[in-house]
């Protein structure tokens, strides 16, 4: 498996940058295996097309307005993902929506597409996440790690201390609160 984890968002606008912050947290905590690439996509769109080529799976992490309380994490997969961006509930709807459409048109869309979205609380100018979103960063990080494990890419913690053991089956998964819901 060749997997791209794409953090999307603008680091200069607080919670807008949660996708990129989640990748930083993931990299700080785990050794990333060669089959996985973490990419800070910023607020780019079509420029990312090249990065989708030859991937088996794409995991996008972004701020997503799902109308739920700040810090709520939602997970979408497959056909749901382009629909989220088409419905404009992510601030990057246009760039990523175009990217996914064009990737499909050129047969570059990976077979598996998953989106983790975090409900933002503050979108002002600034480098800091809001407390509500900062508080779920660990949860998001572990959810990405679990997702990667489900694709057969096990992440090894950098320090043995509090980190959970992750396996492909998800057994031995960390005791985190999953606020992650699938939409109806």
């Amino acid at each position: 498996m060749n997997i791209l984890v794409l953090g999307v968002g603008n680091l200069l606008m607080q919670d807008e940058g949660v996708g990129v912050r989640a990748l930083e947290a993931l990299e700080a905590r785990f050794l990333i295996p060669p089959a996985v690439e973490l990419l800070d996509g910023g607020t780019a769109g079509l420029e990312l097309l090249n990065q989708l080529a030859c991937r088996d799976a794409l995991i996008i992490v972004d701020a997503v307005n799902s109308g739920r309380p700040p810090g709520t994490v939602v997970r979408f997969e497959g056909e749901q993902v382009p629909a989220v961006f088409r419905k404009k509930i992510s601030p990057h709807q246009l760039g990523i929506s175009d990217l996914l459409a064009v990737a499909r048109l050129t047969d570059l869309l990976p077979q598996h597409v998953v989106l983790f979205g975090v409900q933002p609380a503050q979108l002002g100018t600034g480098l800091e996440l809001s407390p509500q979103v900062a508080g779920v960063l660990e949860e998001v990080t572990l959810l990405i790690a679990l997702e990667l494990a489900s694709f057969g890419a096990d992440l090894v913690p950098k320090s043995a201390a509090p980190a959970p053991v992750l396996t492909p089956s998800g057994k031995g998964a960390p005791p985190v609160r999953l606020s992650c819901r699938l939409p109806a």
Partner: protein, 566 residues
């Protein structure tokens, strides 16, 4: 009767630009350009280490990350009076030229061609006739009947999913669309091929810059690329030769496809050479420096007031004070406190939102001026300025474009035809061809310089006690970009970015003179106010992108095309 139309947002990529027009007797009589988001990068970098600021500024915009990084390191280098290694200049030049080519290809095919090309009509074309037409005018290899037939099938399948996605903003069947089904299929097929080709330009930036969209190899004082022709971890000859093949591939597409498509569309819509001129004061800065201080540049810059070649004033180097002294910004019609007009080093950024006031404040974008006048920036300004400066490659490709379109129309076209909506597209294609030659020359410069045994890529910046000021500018894909920095005791004291879309999309200035978008729309004929395709054609021809001019404040932003009678 006056009809008022509001188009919001105008761009399909990021950015929140609102255009209001008053239409009288089938023509635009008044126009307002309004940025609907607020930008506050300046406050974020205050107090930061000037060597790190580029890492933040490349986040101002999602599309133009590289250009804000380049302008930022140049501003600090300018403040310190630095001379940077030749290898660093060449590597930067390769990155910015490749980035610009990628931008121009994507702008033409993916962001604006659908204003002129009707995809639904392409579905009715005869692929065989299309192939004959294409092979007659171009040596591009991907012009077989099979290629066009495949492209048509692919489009049909895509259309059948009911998710036209990227194509949804098209005004299909609009009376202002006039290409034949075959030409529509040709252009749409190139739309698909350009998606592949733009990836190659992107790869050049990735290989040299470490990663895209956010390059990692820049540094105040040079670049962080280690050059070692033997070590695989560095910039090796193998990688550099791979870059060369990518450059060659880009050249074929630019010369055999992009350039010719733009000429064909220019000939089919020749009336648009008389529409959309607007502000004819053109400003471009020199770029692609080929010495350490940025004194000699491959591409000339200058100011062309009124489009008059006799009044051309050159901007000679990255240090030229003529540019530094000429730039001011006004907030009289912008949502900031006061009504001041100031030099960027003296500015402050204090927002003050009112509602949309036709005669008062109505935009988050400030209004820049050059020696008191609004100025148009972008590829058209760049090409006209380089033409005026006698830049040979620019003259060659400009003549080629004018002659190609002229022969299709059976008339002689002068450079005046470029002061127009279609002229902006033509200039962008000319610029892409010029940049392709520059890529080749910079690649050779780099290889030859490494061949002399020079592997230096970086010199360490030294910050003095006290205050220094600098400006870094860059002729970005959308035009003149300048970053203005004030450094005190090795920390950023003030920072302003005057971005290309600010020059073009700015509101009325301190003297109430309209900005380039606004002026360019006056007199534009509107066939159907309910579907104002003509307004979009002109605004899109500037390659609008407001992600950096302004900032997001409203995630629930509604997409509206509002039309009302007044």
């Amino acid at each position: 009767m006056t009809t008022r139309i509001t188009i919001d947002p105008v761009t399909r990529i990021e950015g929140h630009l609102r255009i209001d027009c008053e239409i009288n007797g089938g023509k635009v009589s008044k126009a307002w350009s309004s940025g609907q988001m607020w930008r506050g990068i300046e406050s974020i970098v205050q107090g930061k280490d000037p060597r790190e600021v580029w890492l933040y500024t490349q986040r101002i915009c999602g599309v133009c990350t590289t250009v804000h990084a380049i302008a930022s390191v140049r501003s600090v280098e300018n403040a310190l009076g630095m001379e940077i290694p030749l290898n660093a200049q060449y590597i930067r030049n390769l990155m910015v030229a490749a980035h610009a080519i990628q931008d121009h290809l994507v702008h033409f095919y993916h962001l604006s061609a659908l204003d002129w090309v009707d995809v639904t009509s392409a579905l009715k074309a005869d692929p065989k006739k299309t192939a004959a037409l294409a092979q007659n005018s171009s040596s591009w290899p991907l012009h077989s009947t099979q290629v066009f037939s495949d492209a048509q099938q692919r489009l049909k399948a895509f259309a059948d999913t009911g998710q036209m996605g990227i194509f949804t903003n098209g005004y299909w069947g609009h009376p202002a669309m006039r290409l034949s089904p075959e030409v529509n299929l040709l252009a749409t097929t190139h739309y698909l091929q350009a998606l592949e080709v733009q990836r190659k330009a992107n790869m050049i930036v990735s290989i040299l810059g470490g990663k895209t969209p956010h390059i990692q190899n820049l540094a105040v004082g040079g670049v962080a690329n280690a050059i070692n022709t033997d070590s695989p971890a560095t910039l090796t000859m193998e990688r550099l030769y791979y870059v060369k093949t990518l450059i060659d591939d880009l050249g074929k597409f630019i010369n055999e496809v992009y350039f010719k498509d733009v000429c064909a569309i220019g000939a089919a819509y020749a009336d648009w050479t008389a529409i959309g001129a607007g502000v004819k004061n053109y400003l471009a800065v020199p770029d692609l420096p080929i010495d350490g201080k940025g004194i000699a540049c491959l591409l000339p810059g200058g100011y062309l007031p009124g489009g008059d070649f006799a009044k051309f004033h050159p901007i000679r180097s990255l240090q030229d004070e003529y540019f530094q002294k000429g730039v001011h910004e006004s907030v009289k019609h912008s949502w900031y406190q006061g009504e001041w007009t100031r030099h960027p080093w003296e500015e402050e950024t204090k927002p003050e939102y009112t509602d949309f006031q036709d005669n008062g404040k109505y935009s988050w974008v400030k209004a820049p001026t050059f020696y008191g006048q609004p100025a148009q920036v972008g590829p058209l300004a760049n090409v006209l300025v380089m033409y005026a400066a006698g830049h040979e490659p620019t003259r060659k490709y400009t003549e080629l474009a004018l002659n190609t379109v002229g022969s299709q129309l059976g008339q002689k076209l002068s450079v005046d035809a470029l002061h127009s909506t279609i002229g902006r597209h033509a200039a962008r294609a000319v610029r892409a061809a010029v940049l392709y030659e520059a890529l080749q020359s910079q690649w050779h410069n780099l290889i030859e310089n490494i061949g002399t045994g020079d592997a230096k890529t970086f010199v360490r910046p030294e910050f003095p006690k006290g205050e220094v000021k600098g400006v870094g500018y860059h002729e970005a894909p959308r035009g003149v970009l300048s970053h203005w920095v004030v450094i005190k005791d090795a920390k950023v004291k003030n920072y302003q970015a005057v971005v290309p879309s600010t020059w073009n999309s700015g509101p009325r200035n301190g003297q109430d003179v309209p900005g380039p978008y606004e002026a360019s729309l006056i007199g534009t004929p509107i066939a159907d106010p309910q579907r104002p395709l003509e307004v979009l054609r002109t605004v899109h021809s500037f390659d609008p992108c407001l992600a950096c001019a302004i900032h997001l404040t409203d995630t629930e932003h509604q997409e509206i095309v509002e039309v009302r009678a007044a």
